[in-house]
């Protein structure tokens, strides 16, 4: 059922078995998966069922380093940021979980095998097709490019409709006898017991001035990669440095996926070899798929690189006439490149293809890229976010090297030449880029409490009854793979462990 917290009596005390903070992809999935488990669940959502400006304004904060729009990156109402996600889905690659000697702070305490049992159901929840991301699956539609070598590989995303969890699963929450969803309820502090070894209660407030508490046997924090850190850091009545922050890790290692429009274009003398699924959304057995290219783990290991996922944007036909001097066009030397490449007869007009490549790219974990608390407070008296997102020269070099690798692979293919559009000497602060709004790393996962905030089962080190969900537990950026599908898979995994009495 839904309960508007503004209608509760001031000073109310609500008790339950499991208190989930945040009704986004993780929180809704976990609550649904716990139905009928014998647990009384309270799902606590800051917003209502629809967008409201005063609630959204609680996200406002200050930024240093890379400029960032904190107040628009997430949505603060039932369904969370699934209310505006784009639906790109792909599981985390097996190699992304592994420690990489050339990427400091890499290596998860879980493997892909730990998530594989949960991905098929996560696919269904996200309204995707079969859990088969093998290229053989997509190649049933048309042959892939067939790029040579072992540096660049084909892959594809599946696309959720996208599932708006707050709409799609609203009735499930409303009808569940064992779920109470408190709307317009903002957790202002996760209060630790005096021994700081467990959580005693949640302090909750509404924007209308009501204050109340929620106590539970188990608490789950799932408010997003920035808010998770903010709430832990602001929960300092028992631990002055913030909850779960004994090793000064909460808020550090903040990562995003920089997203670029065209970073390169390439011309191709064999347009028929470019399968339609690379450039557009394509039906695949009830799913929607779109091809992409990314660096192989072998190549990244050899060259010490991070990953970049290249996507295709709409293509243009390019007519060219070998033997006829080209006029200077908006793209220098393009016709010359086509004639140099194609080896076709002079005097006959031919049609090639111009393909633009966008990309999302990985950044390395960086302890100095971090979320802290600002001096300013929000309408509830909570310290606002201070985000100092940093991208390094190494991140830039890796992206540029990956573009060059793509160019080399295209050239070795024998049907294309690539032109870099992204300036070679770009600076992260000046370049025209977007953000994926994937907030990762601020409560990173590690087996060692000195290296991570949560363990392999999402339990906060040193706090027996607090778990954290969402991509804040990501240890590395996982290429540029969108996290929602894996967030849902992790929620299902935690639910199974709770049902089994292991959490």
């Amino acid at each position: 059922m839904f309960i508007d917290a503004r209608q509760l009596d001031d000073g109310s005390a609500i008790a339950c078995d499991v208190a989930i903070i945040g009704a986004g992809a993780f929180g809704i999935t976990l609550a649904r998966a716990l139905r009928g488990s014998g647990r009384d669940v309270v799902l606590i959502e800051s917003g209502g069922l629809d967008f409201e400006e005063d609630t959204q304004a609680l996200y406002e904060g200050v930024t240093q380093g890379i400029a960032y729009n904190l107040d628009t990156a997430r949505l603060r109402y039932f369904g969370g940021s699934t209310n505006h996600w784009g639906g790109w889905c792909r599981p985390i690659e097996a190699h992304d979980f592994e420690a990489r000697a050339w990427v400091p702070h890499s290596g998860w305490p879980v493997s892909r095998a730990d998530l594989d049992p949960f991905y098929p159901e996560a696919q269904q929840i996200c309204e995707l097709g079969a859990f088969d991301y093998s290229m053989e699956n997509l190649a049933r539609l048309a042959p892939p490019l067939g790029l040579p070598g072992d540096k660049v590989a084909d892959g594809f995303f599946q696309f959720s409709p996208p599932t708006r969890f707050g709409e799609r699963y609203r009735d499930d929450i409303a009808d569940a006898s064992d779920i109470r969803c408190l709307l317009n309820a903002n957790v202002t502090e996760i209060v630790a017991a005096h021994d700081a070894a467990s959580i005693a209660r949640l302090d909750v407030a509404t924007l209308t001035g009501k204050r109340f508490t929620v106590t539970a046997k188990t608490y789950v924090l799932a408010t997003g990669g920035i808010e998770n850190a903010r709430l832990l850091l602001a929960s300092r009545s028992v631990a002055p440095a913030g909850l779960a922050n004994g090793h000064d890790l909460v808020g550090r290692y903040f990562m995003e996926h920089p997203i670029f429009g065209p970073v390169a274009s390439w011309i191709c003398d064999a347009p028929e070899r470019i399968a339609p699924y690379y450039g557009t959304y394509t039906a695949l057995d009830g799913a929607v798929a779109r091809g992409c290219l990314f660096m192989t783990p072998e190549h990244m290991a050899r060259e010490g690189r991070l990953n970049t996922i290249f996507t295709f944007t709409p293509n243009d036909d390019v007519r060219y006439l070998p033997g006829r001097p080209a006029e200077d066009g908006p793209i220098p030397l393009e016709t010359e490149m086509l004639t140099l490449l194609s080896g076709v007869e002079q005097g006959l007009e031919h049609t090639g293809k111009r393909v633009y490549m966008g990309c999302g790219t990985e950044q390395a974990p960086n302890p100095d890229s971090r979320v802290t608390l600002a001096h300013e407070v929000d309408a509830l008296g909570m310290p606002r976010t201070n985000l100092a997102w940093q991208l390094s020269e190494g991140d830039r070099e890796s992206l540029m090297a990956n573009i060059a690798t793509l160019a080399a692979t295209m050239g070795a293919w024998g049907h294309a030449r690539l032109r870099r559009i992204l300036p070679a000497d770009f600076a992260w602060n000046d370049v025209d880029m977007f953000w994926a709004h994937h907030h990762m790393g601020t409560t990173r996962m590690a087996a060692d409490p000195a290296r991570g905030v949560v363990d392999a089962n999402l339990r906060v080190h040193g706090l027996g009854n607090l778990f954290i969900g969402g991509s804040s537990v990501w240890t590395t950026g996982c290429g540029a793979t969108n996290p929602t599908l894996s967030i849902v898979a992790f929620a299902l995994r935690l639910a199974q462990r709770m049902r089994a009495g292991e959490a």
């Binding site: 070998p322 010359e336 140099l340 194609s342 080896g343 076709v344 160019a407 080399a408 050239g411 070679a424």
Partner: protein
Amino acid sequence: MSWSRRDILIGAGLSAALGGAVLWRLTPGQGPGPTMALVDRAAAARIGRRLLDAARPPADGNAAQKRIDTLLATLPAQTRPADLRPAFADWILADFEDGRMVEVDGWYLARTEADLAILAALQAGENHTKLQ
């Protein structure tokens, strides 16, 4: 197309390097030397000009010539002109596979095709001068 001084120099260089293995290049009237491997020498010359204008390595005609000569030296003694294009195609693919690339205006070229383009540009420039 008539031979330019550059072609003669190229041919002489090749002759010295190869001991007469590809003497057909020294026969006036048979073509413009290794740049005949290009489908469109005018287009290549425009690329080569941009490389030369960039005035940074490997925009150096002598160095380009040396590298091309080295490749040609690996051809069998009785290589025919018609075999030149597939040989260069293989070398170009090998350049890309090994990451030997040159950038011009953002385009990534194989070093061998960049070298050919530079030679084509020098050749075109000398022909142009001659016509003037």
